[in-house]
């Protein structure tokens, strides 16, 4: 295999292997919709994690409210269906765009803020949206949520749709980071004032980063509506289950790396599911009770010992592992 050079970015041979594997592995599980479902969730978290990573990991704007864009994308798909019977599938187009519009509007407020204030500001906006969508029943059907009977029972179509979205997300981030804009993003992350001083229109580039990031988050939301067939404000605007988990996916995999969030998504979904299902029922039942505890410990461990995440600290991990093997061998 050879690297493929495209106009905006290269697909390295490793990436080609990854793409092939993400096609082959799910096909191996042809008779297990349950596993296919897990793969779909992994891909959805790849989209969310990567979109967050562009804004936070590369541009330094650590959003604690990505649920706002995910949720608005889901409702962009669901509301026209509920009110006028328009197919939620249109959401794959409109969800992202709606999220970009919301992101731009919220950006007017939150981009005035820096560091922890930005984090808190984004968190607050997502929470406010959650409350509004729960209260305004005439518009959103409130906590009763929106239900849609999904189009297919078969999971493969869904998998390959979200797979394509995930690849598009990852490679759009890669392409951006190869471009001039990517360089500006990094300089904003390292020192916003310095970036401004050398003549970078920081406001503009923060908005570009935000737009791409929110577009994919909104698209993921729309996909969620189409695939799950049910949304309510507590689910799609969730602080912990969406916003925080999105960040943890990025952190575990590696902030500011192209493939980090993807790796983080795999780890997050598999670890949670392995423990929740007590290793597919092979381990004693009580293990399923501690799945959230294990995940919390994993987060602590990663932050403490692998600050760069699995991908960011990959060389370090390999080195340590070699040392460990060497020690064992010499004994």
């Amino acid at each position: 295999m050879k690297d493929i050079n495209l106009k905006f970015f290269t697909i390295t041979k490793y990436e080609q292997i990854i793409i092939l594997l993400t096609i082959i592995i799910p096909l191996l599980f042809y008779d297990s919709p349950y596993m296919q479902g897990l793969f779909i969730f992994i891909m959805m978290w790849v989209v969310l994690g990567s979109s967050w990573n562009l804004l936070a990991g590369y541009t330094g704007q650590v959003s604690f409210g990505h649920a706002a864009y995910f949720g608005i994308g889901a409702y962009a798909a669901g509301l026209p269906f509920m009110h006028w019977g328009i197919s939620p599938w249109w959401g794959l187009l409109t969800g992202g765009i709606t999220a970009v519009v919301l992101g731009y509007l919220l950006g007017i407020v939150v981009f005035k803020l820096r560091g922890p204030y930005f984090a808190l500001g984004t968190l607050a906006t997502a929470e406010i949206l959650r409350i509004i969508f729960g209260q305004e029943e005439w518009l959103t059907n409130g906590h009763n949520g929106i239900l849609y009977v999904t189009t297919w029972v078969d999971k493969y179509p869904y998998y390959f749709i979200i797979w394509a979205i995930a690849l598009a997300t990852v490679f759009s981030v890669k392409a951006l980071m190869k471009s001039k804009a990517g360089f500006y993003f990094l300089s904003i992350r390292e020192d916003e004032d310095a970036a401004k001083a050398i003549g970078i229109n920081t406001h503009k580039y923060k908005n570009i980063s935000m737009a791409v990031s929110t577009f994919w988050a909104g698209t993921a939301g729309a996909f969620y509506m189409i695939y799950m067939g049910f949304i309510d404000p507590e689910v799609v605007f969730a602080l912990h289950n969406i916003s925080i988990i999105t960040i943890l996916v990025g952190i575990i995999g590696g902030v500011g790396t192209i493939w980090g969030p993807a790796v983080g998504a795999i780890i997050m979904v598999l670890v949670q599911e392995l423990f929740r299902s007590a290793f597919f029922g092979l381990a004693p039942q009580w293990i399923s009770k501690v799945h959230a505890l294990v995940f919390g410990l994993l987060v602590i461990f990663v932050i403490l010992y692998m600050a760069g995440g699995v991908v960011g600290d990959w060389d370090l991990i390999v080195k340590k592992f070699r040392k460990f093997r060497l020690k064992k061998a010499t004994k």
Partner: protein
């Protein structure tokens, strides 16, 4: 190569997961799936239901099981989230290959899981999830004539009928002119408020207002002041247990004194409600689906056995629903004559007509609903620290305390 090793490991896992349903022996236990919140914030209810399923299972298996085979429940934890519930239902169907699912606690999770069961054409016997649309085929793009295509069955009444027993109490004894409705902002709360508003208007009671609050509110006083400003005869509350306690405590502090405080089941019948509300729980009335003192065969026995095995204050209607669902499952399987296919189980479910400690179970169609067990509901009241059944009169074990002198009760 390392990659080769990893690939072969994945392949092996794939083979295991693809074919692990084939080695089932005909004499092994019959596996039935149960979907419940066993971790997360609703885990205490999930635990109560799981205990009840286990209690029933022991009883069934001790009595010879299902035509000689043992019954086994496979529990799947939905953690109280619709997406996890969906994945869990899928796992039960495709990995464990169960021919029937039961359980289903919170409305939104049950609904999401029901969509999965419907798509895979696996019968789902819901025992707690209560939003109306779960047994309305309309919500699944079917009509009420599609009974043979509709795989969802429900043992418990839908939320819109929780207050049916209460309606007669209000119209025959209390005869209030006005009511104010307070509800938690959840699917259960909003739906319950809407349907009670409808029944109140039907009974000629004027609804002075409907107000929602979010779960976990610390200070209900502003809400209660607004309610009491209108001086309603009855305050109707749809709340979970601790919100319910906070509401009553603060109503007492503010001196809110309508003719009657009425709870819509859910939290108002639980021992924790009394434990936290203290004297403020006194004389509060609640709709309920079940009470251990009901003259139903097995009700008291179930309640006592539960306490004997698990200790504590004993189960409320949630536990009784789960226990009875397990008995229905056993009854249905016994009538399958050894063919435990999904279709055969569905046919047996259709023909269900039995008595359980929760009441009679028979799946009927009415209105927009099909496969719905129609039940009467009851009214209980906290009298001198104990929950007593006060309505309907012929079943009651205590006299309905009314009118109430709040100054004396609250002291």
């Amino acid at each position: 190569m390392k990659l080769g090793k990893i690939l072969s490991a994945i392949l092996a896992l794939a083979i295991i997961l693809n074919f692990n349903g084939c080695s089932k022996k005909e004499t092994g236990p019959i596996k039935i799936g149960v979907l419940l919140p066993l971790t997360g914030s609703k885990a205490n209810f999930g635990e109560m239901e799981k205990n009840s399923f286990e209690l029933a299972k022991e009883k069934i298996n001790k009595a010879g099981g299902i035509n000689g085979r043992q019954l086994q429940f496979i529990y799947e934890d939905d953690t109280g989230k619709p997406d996890v519930g969906r994945a869990g239902a899928e796992k039960l169907i495709t990995v464990n290959k169960v021919p029937l699912i039961t359980g289903g606690y919170s409305s939104s999770v049950t609904f999401a899981a029901a969509a999965v069961a419907q798509q895979y054409k696996v019968p789902f016997l819901v025992n707690t999830g209560s939003v109306d649309k779960i047994t309305e085929p309309e919500a699944f793009n079917l009509t009420t004539k599609d009974g043979d295509k509709f795989y969802i069955y429900r043992l418990n009444p839908p939320v819109s009928e929780y207050a049916s027993g209460l309606e007669t109490l209000l119209s025959e004894v209390v005869k209030p002119k006005t009511v104010f409705i307070i509800h938690e902002s959840t699917a259960f709360g909003t739906k319950g408020a809407k349907s009670f508003k409808k029944s109140a208007e039907k009974l000629g009671i004027k609804v002075l207002g409907v107000q929602s609050y979010s779960e976990g509110t610390v200070d209900f006083k502003p809400l209660l002041m607004n309610v009491w400003k209108k001086r309603p005869d009855v305050i109707y509350m749809i709340s979970y247990v601790m919100d319910a306690a906070m509401l009553m405590k603060q109503a007492r502090e503010l001196g809110v004194k309508p003719k009657l405080f009425v709870g819509a089941g859910a939290g108002f019948t639980m021992p924790e409600f009394k434990a936290n509300a203290g004297p403020a729980s006194e004389r509060v009335v609640s709709a309920t689906l079940w009470h251990q003192t009901l003259p139903i065969k097995g009700a008291k026995e179930y309640f006592d056995n539960y306490i004997k095995k698990y200790g504590g204050n004993g189960p409320d209607y949630h536990g009784a629903e789960a226990y009875s669902a397990a008995l229905v499952v056993a009854d249905v399987l016994k009538r399958c004559n050894g063919d435990y296919s999904k279709e055969n189980i569905k046919k047996a479910l259709d023909a269900t007509d039995m008595m359980t400690p929760f009441g009679p179970v028979k799946f009927t169609s009415y209105g927009k609903k099909i496969h719905q067990n129609k039940m009467r509901t009851y009214v209980v009241q906290w009298i001198n620290g104990e929950l007593k059944l006060v309505w309907p009169k012929n079943l009651a074990n205590a006299k309905f305390e009314y009118p109430i002198n709040w100054n004396k009760v609250w002291k």
